[in-house]
């Protein structure tokens, strides 16, 4: 066998040598597209670079203490300022937002994907309508969410906060020491959570719909109810994607400025009581303190922006990596 093959190969005529060369137009086109692709890369690098350059005065003034100081003293001989309390506040808001957003988003995504009938009474297209609503919610400006939270949600939340203080007050996180229940972390975190919902929902829905149909039908033919299919087929397959979706939502929650800025009243001491008035977050700090504090103040805010940029960038990178790793396990 091998001999014959060899002879065949030996006697094969020389392959024609085709010379393919991109035309000038194509080279120009490729160059343009490549430039655009690298342009995004350049912009990302420039963001980091310019923020770093402009925040040098702030870092020179405070050094590494910029990350550990809690005050915001810009004037005087010895200015002392830092983002530590803002960092803590950002994390608290993000945690509250995720606690609010995750169950609702996953439930909604499951409903759209698994439970919703195509049409109710053959007229109302439930699935499409819900999807459209979720998308619309993602497009609603954050200023409107903030206004709604400030004018509508806050009056309704204070009663709940009073209850929380009186029944769960032994835990410091749920304690109020001042008696003022407005402008709290809980309210701003809830609004931010509502803002994160459409993103997490949409991503989770996407992930759930990628469940292999073979496994799904297999489970159903073995007599599994929809609840069992969700538990035993959908969730195991989309674990990674769900984590990624939640982390992307976390990125949004960390970076939300306006809604938090409207609701919270800026306070620089560290506040871990989430139902107590006053708080701080990096993005809200930038939005609220902009234009005050002179050139050093601006530099300090840009430095805060740099910190926020680095945090969100890191989270996004990790999120996409987790998703890729989990995807690799699922045989496609």
């Amino acid at each position: 066998m091998t001999k014959i093959d060899n002879t065949v190969i030996k006697n094969r005529p020389e392959p024609l040598k085709l010379r393919s060369k991109l035309s000038g137009e194509d080279r120009a086109f490729r160059g343009l597209a490549r430039a655009a692709g690298l342009g995004t890369f350049v912009i990302l690098v420039l963001i980091g670079l310019f923020l770093l350059l402009e925040s040098i005065p702030a870092f020179r003034s405070q050094g590494w203490h910029f990350l550990t100081n809690t005050g915001w003293q810009l004037s005087g001989k010895h200015p002392k300022f830092g983002v530590f309390s803002a960092l803590i506040g950002t994390i608290i808001i993000a945690i509250i937002a995720l606690v609010v957003a995750i169950p609702v988003s996953i439930a909604c995504a499951l409903f759209i994907n698994e439970y919703a009938p195509q049409r109710i009474m053959r007229v109302i297209p439930v699935k499409n309508f819900l999807t459209a609503c979720v998308d619309l919610m993602a497009a609603v400006p954050s200023i409107i969410f903030g206004m709604w939270g400030f004018f509508v949600l806050e009056p309704h939340m204070t009663g709940f906060e009073v209850w929380m203080n009186s029944y769960l007050g032994m835990i410091p996180f749920f304690k109020n020491t001042t008696g003022v229940y407005t402008a709290t972390f809980l309210i701003s975190g809830t609004v931010v959570g509502i803002m994160c919902m459409p993103i997490i929902t949409s991503l989770c829905r996407e992930v759930f719909s990628l469940t292999p149909p073979g496994e799904r039908e297999g489970a159903m033919s073995l007599g599994a109810s929809r609840a069992r299919v969700i538990r035993d087929v959908v969730f195991p397959f989309s674990k990674g994607g769900m984590i990624g979706a939640i982390m992307l939502g976390l990125g949004r929650a960390l970076g939300e400025a306006i809604a938090v800025a409207i609701i919270i009243s800026l306070a620089f001491p560290i506040n871990i009581h989430m139902i107590q008035s006053g708080g701080n977050s990096i993005a809200a700090l930038i939005a609220l303190e902009w234009g005050s504090g002179g050139s050093l103040g601006t530099s300090a805010l840009l430095a805060a922006g740099l910190v926020l940029f680095i945090i969100t960038l890191a989270i996004n990178m990790v999120a996409s990596r987790i998703v890729n790793a989990s995807r690799a396990g699922v045989g496609r």
Partner: protein, 406 residues
Amino acid sequence: MTAIDENLRIEDELQEQPPPAPLKIPRFRPKEFKFSDALVFFLTALSAFCIVWILFAQLTLLNGALGFVLLWIPLFLLMYWFVNRQLFTRQVAVDRLIGAIVSLGAGIMMLPLVLLTVFVFQRGLATFSWHALTSTQQGVVYTSKTNNIGGVAHALVGTLEQVAIASILGIPAAILTAVFINEVGGRFTKSVRTVVTAMSGTPAIVAGVFIYSVWVTRFSYSGFAGALALAVILLPTVTRGTEEVLKVVHNDLREASIALAAPEWRTVWSVVLPTARSGLITSMLLGVAVSIGETAPLIMTIFGNQVMNTNPFSQPQMALSLLSYKQIKLPIQSQIDLGYTSALVLFILVFTVFILARLLGGNWKRSSGGRRSVLSFVRWTPGSALEPIENSEKGMSEDDFNSHRD
């Protein structure tokens, strides 16, 4: 009458007897939701409501509507599970319970959207007038006595100009980037995709401070600076959306074009992009809708003013979102009213663009197999590479089939 006839008659009689009753196996179709099931659902909800109402009136554990709902929902779920457990089997009960929880989640999801819309229209329409739409804040003195709230014209003009400039700058770059990732490729494809993902997650306010440090420190506050910031936000959003759309374009079309010896740019320009046209429009308009509503980056780029400034390249400008943000923290009611008006105009603007995106994107969705989320711009899941496979499995889509038949 013979014996044989008699036998036949007896046999006939035997056959007329009913066959033995089949074994009764309780059956449950998960998707079946009959009238009686709906009745169970509503009655359970009602009885849970009544119990909570009694408890609430007696004990007043929580005050306010929120507390009521917080008690009602768990009690309802518990009762619903129990009733189904009694009526059917454990599996049915669990399935129904999960179904109830999940639909509840969808309901809670819709609630803020409805409340938001009601809020914006209720507060905004109260002070909305033609005068408020066409005038500016120039020379308006706010006191607690006057009803003159000024107008939003300067902000409307500012928003439209900034978003237009941002689109002109951002959208072509975004489409080229998507073309690079999907059509041209090369060594950097993966890293560019990662960078675009990372950029789409970057907070809007960071884009604002970035443009401040690049542009405003060298020149001045202007509408153009705001447009630059919006373009930075728009770019990754539209890129992701466009990339998803380009992925769905059938490979056969590209191959056919190459087989006709078309140069690469021709393939993209005359085949790929026209095929994905409606999808492209959707992703563009969604990017625009998102950028219309951005507030945070405008604080440090356009600064805001009170008079009409139609020139985006010099002097501070105003935008609808920024106007709302500035007004609602002010003390006088007429000032806050202007904030409401501006929020209403902003909401209507965003809603219009969104509906437009939804309508114009219809064709693309139908031909790519089922309606998909138009929020595809935030999808980074590599699983979306599955779509071409889906398409090939399906063979011809409905539209293809119709066009062939014609």
